[in-house]
Amino acid sequence: MDRREFLKRAAGAGLAIAGSALGAAWLYDPRGGAEYFRSEENKKTASLKSYRVDRGKGAVEMTVVRGKDPEKMMRAGIQAMGGIGSFVQKGDVVLIKPNVAFDRAPALGATTSPDVLKAVALLCKKAGARKIIVADNPINQPEGCFFKSGIQQAAADVGAEVMLPKPGAFSLVKIGGEILKTWSMFHRPLEHATKVIGVAPCKDHNLCSASMTMKNWYGLLGGRRNQFHQQIHTVIADFAQMIRPTLVVLDATRVLMQNGPTGGRLSDVQEADTLVIGTDMVAVDAFGYTLLGRDPEKLEYIHKAEARGLGSTKWKEQNWREVLAG
């Protein structure tokens, strides 16, 4: 090798080393592993928008509908609140959140009735919704829960899309509650939705006495959510802070009177033939608790939510209607 050749090769090698060093310097992150991932998580923390609609002063806030046919009941109840057009407009993407927490048959009252879900979805379709998403996060075997509860079939019957809780569908969400500050949530359906309707069964609950429309949002939490059971009333009140749905529907066509939330005995289920539709979850749950034959004064979480200004337990003082439907 002559001198010229040596210098050429040395320069090439030097350039390669310098390039690698510059590249490494560009990629180097001085924060370290844990801090890096924490800041990445923070970057990806989502916030939930309000899905409420402004219907002006004097609008009916709650209807209690009695009847046997969920479709007629939903129609009559919503009509009394100004019609579905007051809540869902043409082109909306509507998320319907039923309670599909367990792989139980609909008759056992542990999950939302498929007929009620269908009735809600049909109304949204009628209003011109572009898409209807049905989503919940049963921790164990979501496919089995959607199948056995009849919700999968009901969604298919009305052309709604069932969104299952796949791993990539979860995001950290800023909740800002007393206990729930930031938590992993089944967020994808909420990202897509322009309107959100919660459709919850009315049932006894071993830990919080009753599972109704506020508790229903627990089903969107990811992670190891059973750790909240110790302070369940505060956490349920946090849900009223977390989400402002367009509408909630308390499905009390069947009421699971005891051995909730799982049930398992038809003898524990009472036909109550009632739907409670409202915009104030606290008021709807306060009324719903009476359907379980219990005193709303004793239901801790609704009072916690009321104290935070998230709704009112005094449903009688609100603008409400009682409707009889076929």
């Binding site: 991932f37 927490a101 048959a105 008759a107 921790i139 009849g150 930031t182 992670g223 190891r224 005995r265």
Partner: protein
């Protein structure tokens, strides 16, 4: 042209095209790997950093008992993970739920198993009750009618560790007035669902609807499973210790805590008795020691003073007995050695005292 220098004779002046092409490909491959690593590093996937608990357990799950534990949901920074290796294996003998499907039915999915740590995944909101009763494991299978997929039967086999715990959870979930069925030690039916306990197991066979056909299928499944469950047949202590006379069949319950909604009443058997037209609730608890029993009695006396009025306190060498008016109904509680017993909310004081003294006498006989 030859290169100059000591090793000039070995140096090549030209590099073949093939060699150049291979070199370029290798360089491109390295660059590609670099880009892929960088791109992957931009996508944060917390599940990559979560321990695989099943991999840490000593024994791999069998095909019949796959460990069912969903860990694919992103957990937040605050989420707690279970201790590695704790309770990740089925405690029940394997195969208890295999081949349970009657003719025309088939399993909907594999047999699944839940431990104390994962029970909430299956029965979120209800798991705590089972954990109070020292739950060991839950094994489940779902059977579906091959001709009608809307008809299914879910089988839940709860291993409660001890017969008393199995009976306890069975008894507190039982709804009054449901027809008894000869299944296990004790069983009942609610439409097409069957509930029974046998040995250390509490079993639920849940039919998806009503009707004679599914009722019969459910019963067949329950009977098949019942035969597979071992039981030493030894009667539970509470069944022997509580008086048999006038006892309403199927009324015994066992509470590990909060019996009669009293937070100091632990490990207590309760039974209903018919005394003429009246119903009397009797209770009996074996405490770990005489000292603990004395403390429980003191707590009961405190409760009586707070919510009622103590009518009499009788102390003998053999026992202490306290009766109180609890606002129109009467409680009588006694302590004998490490036993606490009595009657609660009886309409008449003399009836309450007699029932409590009869219980005491019975205990003396059995001692």
């Amino acid at each position: 042209m030859l290169a100059r220098g000591k090793r000039g004779g070995c140096a090549r002046a030209r590099i073949s095209r093939t060699e150049t092409a291979i070199s370029c490909m290798l360089l491109l491959l390295m660059a590609g790997i670099g880009v892929a690593i960088y791109a992957k590093g931009q996508i944060y996937d917390p599940s990559l950093y979560r321990p695989e608990l099943t991999a840490l357990s000593k024994q791999a799950p069998t095909e019949a008992h796959p460990v069912e534990s969903r860990t694919d949901q992103p957990a937040s920074a605050g989420a707690q993970m279970p201790a590695p290796g704790v309770g990740t294996q089925p405690a029940s003998p394997p195969g208890l739920l295999d081949n349970l499907a009657p003719t025309g039915w088939k399993p909907l999915e594999n047999v699944t198993h839940f431990t104390a740590d994962t029970l909430y995944e299956k029965i979120d909101g209800r798991a705590e009750e089972y954990l109070d009763y020292k739950f060991v494991g839950l094994t489940c299978v779902s059977l579906v009618n091959a001709q009608d997929s809307k008809q299914f039967i879910d089988v839940y086999l709860y291993d409660m560790g001890q017969p008393a715990q199995a009976f306890g959870v069975f008894s507190v979930e039982r709804t009054e007035g449901l027809p008894a069925v000869t299944l296990g030690r004790e069983g009942y039916r609610a439409e097409a669902s069957y509930f029974f306990w046998k040995g250390r197991y509490y079993v639920q066979v849940l039919g998806s609807g009503k009707g004679a056909a599914i009722e019969q299928i459910g019963l067949n499944v329950a009977r098949t499973l019942e035969k597979r469950l071992k039981d030493d047949g030894k009667p539970l202590w509470g069944f022997k210790a509580l008086p048999e006379k006038d006892r309403i069949p199927g009324s015994i319950q066992y509470f590990v805590k909060d019996a009669m909604s009293l937070d100091f009443m632990k490990e207590t058997y309760i039974a209903l008795y018919r005394k003429g037209d009246a119903k009397v609730t009797a209770f009996l608890s074996k405490q770990p020691s005489g000292e603990t029993a004395a403390k429980t009695l003191a707590s009961y006396e405190g409760h009586m003073k707070k919510y009622g009025k103590v009518a009499e306190k009788r102390e003998t060498d053999a026992y202490t007995l306290i009766s109180a008016d609890m606002g129109g109904a009467f409680d009588v509680v006694f302590r004998k050695g490490n036993l606490i017993g009595g009657v609660s909310m009886v309409e008449d004081l003399s009836m309450a005292e007699k029932a409590a003294l009869d219980m005491l006498a019975g205990l003396r006989d059995k001692d």
